[in-house]
Amino acid sequence: MHFELTEEQKYIKAAAREFAEGEFQPEVAREFDQKHEFPRAIYKKAAKLGFIGCYFDEKYSGQGLGLLENVLMEEEFCRVDSTLGSAMFAGLFGSDLILKYGTEAQKIEYLPKSAQGEWVSAGAFTEPAHGSDVTVMDTVAMRDGDEYVINGAKTMITNAPIADYAVVLCQTDPEARHKGQSLFIVKKGASGFDSNELTGKMGIRASLLGEYSFSDVRVPKEALLGEENKGFYHFMEFIDVGRINVAAQSVGMAQGALERALKYAKQREQFGRPLADFQVIQHKLADMALDIESARLLTYKAAWHVDQGKIIPKWACMAKTLATTNAMRVISEAMQIFGGYGYLADYDIERYYRDIRISAIYEGTTEIQKNVVARILLRE
């Protein structure tokens, strides 16, 4: 048993922190939050320095690192800023599926541009009628000669309005439910492929949300990603990794909130002494640290398993559940410590509070995570 990061991991963490502190100024973050805009320039800068897609192989412009390193970077980025930090890792959402199941030609075509920050990607899975239930899709892809023809609609898609390509989960055998689903790569600009932005988001506004519509969208058969009719299973493995990423972001956001609260508690005086002198505040701080550290350990463990070649859904779901639940609590407590000021945009806790909320919803709601954990427990 070993609980220390390697020297290299420590320096990677430091590099991520240095970049984030240099680029994610609160005023910049507030601006992107208000404008609902993806920080493309900062994203490209991060990519050029190797922070994006670090677990891609070097021949695809990655760094050949593991998920744990990615987790460390996400944590540091989100610790410095919840809005910009989380946006950095949303940029290549969906591309992991190509990394894992793509043909060499697909990898060469899509991965380097993604890791270099030139292309932004999207993963289109959720449907308006089906939400968390992905076992059945209304979006269908029918074979027609050397092509597939896609029809249907997808919603709640990160990056939909700006993505250069999307990985789309479709029903290829409508009768076989989840055993008849396949993944396709659809490029921006394909005829009949349209996107629409979903506005009014509560948080993480520096990454855009949208929906897609497919009306007789023709893609070549080479656009099929992974095995035909195995799309659901590919997606399930992918989402486990995504869950660990969400856990990492949550740990980072919680840590950022704790640090801000600590600083404030030491500075702010009430009834003639600093807030930090009150035991009730001390206990809050201790509880927050506990929440963070336990979530961090479980998140690292889940990521470590993936790097050992074992994607274990139980750890991924547990890590996400614990990290997101704890982070929501930590950030809420941080706001409590800030009092009325915490409710104002100037102090950023308000933004953290809005940004963390989605983590208990996307990549599978907390309830879905618990379903998975329970199912595994009962089966074991």
Binding site: Q25, P26, E27, V28, E31, D346
Partner: protein
Amino acid sequence: MTEIFVLTEHRQGQIRDITFEMLSKGRELAGKTNTELTAVLLGKEVKNHAKTLQDYAKRVLLVEDTQLENFNSDAYQKVLSSLIKEHKPLLTLMGHTSFGVELAPSLAVSLDTPLATDCIDLEFEGETLTVIRQMYGGKVNVKAVLRKAESYIVTVRQATFPVEKEAPMNGEIVEVPSPLSEEIAKKRFVKYVLPPPGGVDITAAEVLIGIGRGIKDGSNIPPVEELAKTLGGALACSRPIVDKGWLPNGCQVGSSGKTVKPKFYLALGISGAFQHVLGMKSSDVIIAVNKDPKAPIFGVADYAVVEDLFKIVPPLKSKIEELKR
């Protein structure tokens, strides 16, 4: 009787203020140590300077040489070495200026003479030389002693010692032949240049808003600029802002920038390194906003605000707009 040397700093036909500051301090030290004050003047055709210096020192040692026309630390070092070896002054003072920092350390090594740099005070306690310096950007003072020696070199901070009005000393001018026998080959002065000007003339503004490191990012400057406009004033800054390329050179206030004396100076996120303070401390009213309650800027400010500048700028702008209506 031994001497205290003060090295005259002059450039483009002007004796720089630091020289008179050192002569004032030197006079005090000479009195206390029972030594004589000597102004050392190196240059080419600088007899007029020698005459000026007669009022301030017991003696003016004048060395003229074409190679001394412009400051060249190699040439200066050779000449000063020879003068110090001959006169064995108890102390040689020079400015902690661009000129002094280039010259003093190598001179000290070549003479094996202890050196203290950037001193804000100095005193002999018996034969021991004690100096006061600052560390950590002026956040702490250090009292330090120099290794015992027969001669010392000290560089002093600009605008630290007041120039006292005292009776002229009518010092004698002693011309010393230049000891430079050969050409200084490895280091050559080429010319003076003014960095490209930019922005408004901050020395003419009645109201200045100075920004420092606390501004965090160039993208945060426009709201402050708006505030400056609302006040009919201009934007100034401390060194890090120019270093990062967020504002042009001409906006820099301090020893390596401009000296300003506006009616109102609002320092936002400026910690107050002495270099900056030198350039703005004569402003009529100084208000400083800084998150660190111990920031040195509060030592020169009339009003201190311990707060994040970003929280002050927006309400201040609306308040001023309200009052203007």
